[in-house]
């Protein structure tokens, strides 16, 4: 009896999405990799390096969408500032890549990046120290967004800021960071940002193999983060998080310190966004303050809304589809995308409040119901007796 109870309470009505998700993701990525590296360029099955890079970019966006879904879909925290955590992770990776350039820059300075020489600086600012070490830079990819999310989350959630007010201050956060990073004196390359990267861990960023390896890394990390997040959100911790979404005061009266739960989840989500940014930068070859633009953060929310909140895989699908549409659409009508995005958001809000994942869920449920009608529902009775 109790075994059954445990099993049933962990059961998801649609079955666990983890295995299908990871299988499909990894199969497609490996096929793309083979298509690029081993299938000759004149074959119809060849995958161009351009496509590989595009896929890698989409997958890092998918990871970013996953981060937003974790806070928005599961805990009701509508963050309109996750672009900031993404950009900070990206800058940390960018700083490492800048220092890898060494004396191969235009000015040939062995330590200082080109833009610092151009600004007549003669020593490296303290916050660039250590960024030539890969492990240290990767630590910063996690710590900088994590710390910012911790301070911000602690202040906001401790003073019980919620709803629209929270969304607005997250926008203000990313906007303020954008203005700061635009300034040359900040030491992050001003409005040009960081670019002209040469290599990563000694591998040339122009090489096909590096590109493919980056894509595989992105897909692998996305799969790992997906599995871990699924585990976290299905644990009792995850149940508390969902309960906070649906009735935070009630959760407090059960004895949970809800502000700590929210801060922890927010920090976790920000770190995922940071990782996504760090994977994005070497693949697109540039990071600049434009990534902090408030509009970017809003776009992420649209991806998640289209894919469907609170399922994790919905966010991934939404990010992939919307970004594919964006690539296609901007090629045809570069100025029309914003209108498209707005229209998409309105349509989804009106007609698909649960996004594409919700449509899928409905189909599955009605299919199951149709099948159950044929065979009497014996299992249900067993389960409850």
């Amino acid at each position: 009896m109790s075994l059954l109870t445990t099993f049933m309470s962990r059961r998801n009505s649609l079955g666990s999405p983890v295995l299908p998700f990871v299988t499909i993701l990894m199969t497609l990525t490996v096929l793309a990799a083979i298509g690029n590296l081993w299938i000759p360029a004149d074959s119809a099955l060849h995958v161009s390096t351009y496509t590989i890079t595009l896929l890698g970019k989409y997958l890092s966006f998918a990871m970013l969408a996953l981060a937003v879904d974790i806070v928005w879909g599961y805990c009701g925290i509508l963050s309109l500032g996750h672009g900031a955590f993404f950009a900070l992770g990206g800058y940390a990776m960018g700083m490492y890549l800048m220092r890898q350039i060494g004396s191969r820059g235009v000015y040939g300075d062995p330590i200082l990046p080109d833009f610092m020489v151009f600004l007549d600086w003669d020593v490296l600012p303290w916050y660039w120290l250590g960024m030539d070490q890969f492990w240290f830079a990767m630590l910063m990819v996690l710590l900088v967004p994590g710390l910012l999310a911790f301070v911000f989350g602690w202040l906001a959630f401790h003073s019980r800021v919620t709803g629209v007010y929270l969304s607005i201050i997250t926008q203000a956060l990313t906007y303020a960071l954008m203005l700061a990073f635009f300034r040359n004196e900040m030491g992050f390359g001003g409005n040009n940002g960081l670019t002209d990267f040469k290599d990563l861990l000694g591998f040339s960023l122009q090489a096909d193999t590096t590109r493919v390896a980056l894509l595989l890394c992105t897909a692998g990390l996305l799969a790992a983060i997906f599995m871990f997040s699924h585990w976290v959100l299905k644990s009792r911790f995850g149940k508390v998080i969902e309960a906070i979404r649906d009735g935070e005061p009630r959760v407090r009266f059960l004895g949970y310190r809800t502000d700590r739960y929210k801060v922890a989840l927010f920090v976790y989500s920000a770190m995922i966004a940071g990782i996504a940014g760090a994977l994005y930068v070497p693949q697109v070859g540039i990071i600049n303050p434009g990534e902090f633009a408030p509009l970017n953060s809003i776009e992420i929310v649209v991806w998640v809304a289209v894919g469907g909140r609170g399922t994790l895989y919905g966010a991934v699908i939404g990010a992939l589809l919307v970004n594919y549409a964006k690539t296609r659409f901007t090629a045809l009508m570069p100025d029309g995308w914003l209108f498209m995005l707005g229209a998409l958001f309105v349509l989804v809000t009106l007609f698909l409040p649960k996004g594409l994942a919700g449509v899928y869920g409905q189909l599955i449920t009605s299919w199951k119901r149709g099948r159950n009608r044929d065979e009497p529902p014996q299992r249900n009775q067993e389960a409850t007796s």
Binding site: S235, G247, L254
Partner: protein, 277 residues
């Protein structure tokens, strides 16, 4: 100046800093009184919702609070559970624990459970999950993340499910329950958390006569092991469970005693007759 007084308060040698005190500081009921409420005042924009309220709840008793709409019954529970700050007065849990210093979560951990007037269950989660969330357990982050239901905890939930008559609905979403069933689920959530003191606001609203009767049985069976404070408008229900009844009126206690005593009390008659339609 305020900084100075804060520092002085912090440096007082007759008390331990709150964060050094174990949260489940043992509850001292040597005087057989579990809850001391003294001179409690609270006003909302000049309107006195609680007015010099004094109330003592004995350990293990079942106490009914009655009073007209707006008498301050729910507000009193809000103050006890830390949801609302009072203007002045004191609330002690046992002889030593000053509840006014604790947050909602701490107060819940101390062993005060609450059922709300409007049933509030987590509608998107199953009945079973609702009970699991309410289970008496370590509610800090890491233990919650790694928590696994032990067989005894599952048995505990199963027992409560049987008590509240929701065994057949265990995997149903709580949002799909009827109003009365939600009330029961909320009572079940109180039961699995094994509180010392239960504050129950209007438990039988929306229940059928039969459900009401079962609720009465359940609440009377709880008294003794737990201390129960029930707010209810249904006089027949109150009569069926009450030992001691306290009448609240305009934020203070109007009368207290057995049901018969209270009903024949001149002040109560005057207030109720004055307000009767």
């Amino acid at each position: 100046m305020t900084a100075l007084s804060h520092t002085a308060e912090l440096m007082r040698r007759d008390q331990v800093w709150p964060f050094l005190q174990p949260p489940a500081a043992s509850i001292n009921v040597d005087k057989d009184i579990l809850l001391y409420i003294e001179d409690l005042n609270l006003s909302f924009d000049g309107f006195k919702a609680l007015n010099n309220l004094n109330l003592y709840i004995n350990d293990g008793e079942l106490r009914c609070l009655i009073g007209a709409n707006g008498a301050g019954k729910t507000t009193l529970m809000d103050v006890i559970t830390g949801k609302t700050q009072c203007d002045s007065g004191s609330v002690f849990f046992g002889q030593t624990i000053n509840l006014l210093k604790y947050s909602e979560a701490d107060i819940a951990e101390l062993g005060i459970g609450r059922k709300f007037q409007k049933p509030t269950v987590f509608e998107a989660q199953s009945v079973f999950d609702n009970l699991e969330l309410a289970l008496k357990s370590n509610k800090r982050l890491l233990p919650t993340l790694l928590a696994r239901l032990s067989p005894s905890e599952i048995d505990r939930i199963d027992t409560v499910l049987a008590t509240i008559g929701l065994t057949d609905h265990r995997f149903q979403l709580a949002g799909a329950l009827s109003h009365g069933q939600k009330q029961w689920l909320e009572i079940g959530m109180l039961l699995v958390s094994e509180p010392r003191l239960l504050l129950i606001d209007e438990p039988v609203a929306g229940m059928t006569a039969e459900e009401t009767e079962r609720t009465a049985e359940l609440l009377t069976s709880l008294a003794g092991k737990h201390t129960v404070v029930v707010v209810e408008h249904d006089m027949e229900f109150v009569r069926s469970i009450a030992r001691t009844v306290t009448v609240l009126h305009q934020g203070s206690v109007l009368a207290e005693g057995s049901m018969d005593h209270v009903q024949n009390h001149p002040d109560v008659i005057e207030v109720y007759l004055g307000e009767a339609p």
